[in-house]
């Protein structure tokens, strides 16, 4: 198992490297750079611009920039912001708690609610509540998260004259204010997670409930509670876990727009602003950090698979 995790970490590093290369190449395709933006309307000469580019190190060929970045990254130096000159790592660490609160909230509540609704729909298959849950789930999957966010803001603002506070306060300082601010973006982000998890839980449960081993459990005289929670649900967890990884990706991506929309000072907002400003070091480093976060989560999910399913455990121990 440990060997397996080590191997997965190795693959993870390769993924991170490829992501880095991709981001560097992608950056060169973006029209105008940070210097254009900094010096716009200042009337600075071409020489001054070139000087600034040299100073920032973006006049060099892409591969040189890449290598020097990688060299620094290996020593824990991911570069500094063009504008504030702060280390990117510091910027990221300052802002990641907000994003983790938002994403974690959306993911946790989304998954819990999705599993609950999925169980309900599966147990009441063919009834009205099942149809209603399935209808809502389809709708939830079809609407993009920023549209949900806008709708929530508009509806609450126009009809109830309520809008969330626009200054972020940590949950330890003022929980009520924090909760008010987090609620809407978390709902917007979590909608698709709820919908996807509901559908996955329902279909996986129904498949397991119709399987032969469940018939054996029923033949023992087991209550439906035992059938559902001990056997059917546990067998459905694998597919729900798989979806958890997918949802994490969607949610991390969603924070970029939603943090901006709800003025939350998280890494999503940081990335959004940095892209607009062409603040390459920040964009690049944040992308890699997000990818790293994703890689680690996927490894954790993979370990959970093995904890749940002895067949997966056996296959890994056999090294296949």
């Amino acid at each position: 198992m440990i060997r397996y995790v080590v191997r997965r970490l190795g693959y993870g590093l390769i993924v991170l490297f490829l992501v880095t290369v991709f981001v560097f190449v992608a950056m060169t395709f973006i029209p105008s750079d940070a210097v254009d933006l900094m010096l716009a309307d200042t009337g600075a000469s071409e020489e001054q611009a070139a000087e600034l580019r040299a100073e920032l190190g973006i006049d060099r060929p892409v591969h040189e920039q890449l290598f020097s970045f990688l060299g620094g990254a290996l020593q824990g130096d991911f570069g500094r912001s063009f504008y504030t000159d702060e280390p990117v790592m510091q910027l990221f660490l300052d802002r990641i708690p907000v994003t983790l609160q938002l994403g974690g909230l959306a993911l946790a509540v989304g998954t819990a609610l999705g599993v609950a609704l999925g169980i309900l729909a599966a147990v009441r298959r063919g009834t009205r509540s099942d149809s209603a849950i399935r209808g809502v789930a389809v709708a939830g999957l079809s609407v993009p998260n920023y549209v949900v966010g806008l709708l929530l803001l508009t509806v609450l603002g126009l009809w109830f004259a309520w809008s969330p506070p626009f200054v972020y306060v940590g949950p330890t300082e003022d929980f009520a204010s924090w909760a008010q601010q987090m609620a809407l973006p978390a709902i917007a982000l979590g909608t698709s997670a709820v919908a996807g998890t509901t559908r996955m839980t329902r279909s996986s449960l129904l498949e397991n409930l119709g399987s032969q081993f469940i018939r054996t459990v029923r033949a023992k005289g087991a209550s439906e509670r035992l059938v559902l929670y001990k056997h059917a649900l546990r067998n459905s967890v694998i597919s729900v876990l798989t979806l958890l990884g997918v949802n994490l990706g969607t949610i991390l991506g969603g924070t970029v727009i939603l943090e901006q929309m709800f003025s939350l000072p998280g890494t999503g907002q940081l990335i959004y602003q940095s892209v607009l400003d062409r603040d390459y070091p920040v964009v690049i480093a944040c992308t890699i950090f997000y990818a790293g976060l994703f890689v680690i989560t996927m490894i954790i999910i993979d370990v959970l698979y093995a904890l749940i399913d002895p067949r997966i455990r056996a296959a890994r121990e056999a090294g296949t």
């Binding site: 060997r3 121990e317 056999a318 090294g319 296949t320």
Partner: protein, 343 residues
């Protein structure tokens, strides 16, 4: 291990002969994946199928029966060994030549529905091998497919229907028509009647018999129902853990099994007479087939053999053919003392 010579049954070359066929699958073993091992799925199998005859392959699941069939028509590439099809070395053949040889060997599988594409019509299913092997085109193809369907007891009206519109027995007839499309010499029947209802199974067995008589087909016939094999096969190969442990004329082997494994296998066949079935209390083989990744030392059957003695755990018996009867068995108990082994 050298290729075991088989007895000449006539002057003719057999339509198919396999010599010392081996298939090893690599597996990694141990917690750290070190010490790569192999699963000996098929380990030195030799037999021949005379023209117009049926060779039956029996043994428990995991004995290598199906793999042997797939190696013999090169659906699976053997690790080593020789396959002679109508005198030609199949494993040395490439490209167009291989395709031509392959078109003369076909397979009929166990699951009649699973082996037919549900989205294709009968015309497409049966006509496909004609196209692949460039046998015929256009109108000639329709005529040929219709003829094939009639040969297996279906009709031209069934041409544009889909597999799910047929019963299991009829679907298996379609599978047989497809196999016949390229005028094969050999058909590999891998549990071809096992999934069918008893009342339908007999029809398909009769069809296979009639086709053999009319078209001079040879069969490699695999089935777990030993009574079915007894009815179909002229010669019998009994496999255990990738090896042939006994081989010979089917009637002779069923009447007088030599190898202890064959004896146990045949004794396990349920009788159909209630009086004897209850009284006889079928001889029950001990245990089950060991894991193929860790086969027992010496004779692979010694862990379950009622007659096992010391030598069996140490030394693997060789398949020896009796010149008098043409029968072969691999068992130390049957060793000729003149061969000079310790008894």
């Amino acid at each position: 291990m050298s290729a075991e010579p088989t007895v000449e049954t006539g002057q003719e070359t057999p339509i198919l002969e396999v010599r010392d066929l081996v298939k090893h699958y690599p597996v990694r073993r141990g917690a750290f994946g070190r010490g790569a091992g192999v699963v000996r799925a098929v380990d030195g199998v030799s037999f021949r199928i005379p023209r117009g005859r049926t060779v039956g392959l029996v043994g428990e699941s995991g004995s290598g029966k199906s793999t042997t069939a797939r190696l013999a028509n090169r659906l699976v590439e053997p690790t080593s060994g020789q396959v002679l099809f109508d005198g030609a070395d199949l494993l040395a053949t490439r490209g167009r030549e291989l395709k031509a040889l392959r078109s003369r060997m076909q397979m009929v599988f166990q699951d009649p529905y699973g082996s037919l594409n549900p989205r294709m019509t009968v015309f497409d299913i049966v006509g496909e091998p004609l196209e692949v092997h460039g046998v015929s085109r256009g109108r000639a193809r329709t005529a040929r497919v219709t003829e094939l369907l009639e040969t297996v007891g279906l009709s031209g009206r069934d041409l544009y229907r889909f597999p799910h519109q047929f019963s299991g027995g009829q679907a298996q007839r379609i599978g047989i028509a497809r196999a016949l499309a390229t005028n094969p010499d050999v058909i590999f029947c891998d549990e071809s009647v096992s999934a069918l209802d008893v009342s339908v199974q007999a029809q398909i067995l009769n069809l296979l018999k009639r086709l053999q008589r009319e078209l001079g087909l040879s069969y490699l016939f695999i089935a777990h129902d030993l009574n079915v094999v007894r009815y179909m096969a002229d010669e019998l190969c009994v496999m255990y853990m990738g090896e042939i442990v006994e081989r010979g004329d089917s009637d002779a082997v069923f009447a007088d099994p030599r190898h202890p494994y064959t004896q146990l296998l045949l004794a396990a066949i349920p009788g159909h007479d209630p009086a004897t079935a209850k009284a006889k209390d079928r001889a029950v083989a001990r245990g089950e087939v060991p894991s193929p990744s860790a086969p027992p030392s010496g004779c692979r059957f010694h862990t379950r053999c009622p007659f096992a003695f010391e030598r069996c755990t140490a030394e693997a018996p060789r398949l020896r053919t009796s010149p008098a009867t043409g029968r072969a068995a691999a068992c130390h108990l049957l060793d000729d003392t003149s061969e000079g082994g310790p008894s």
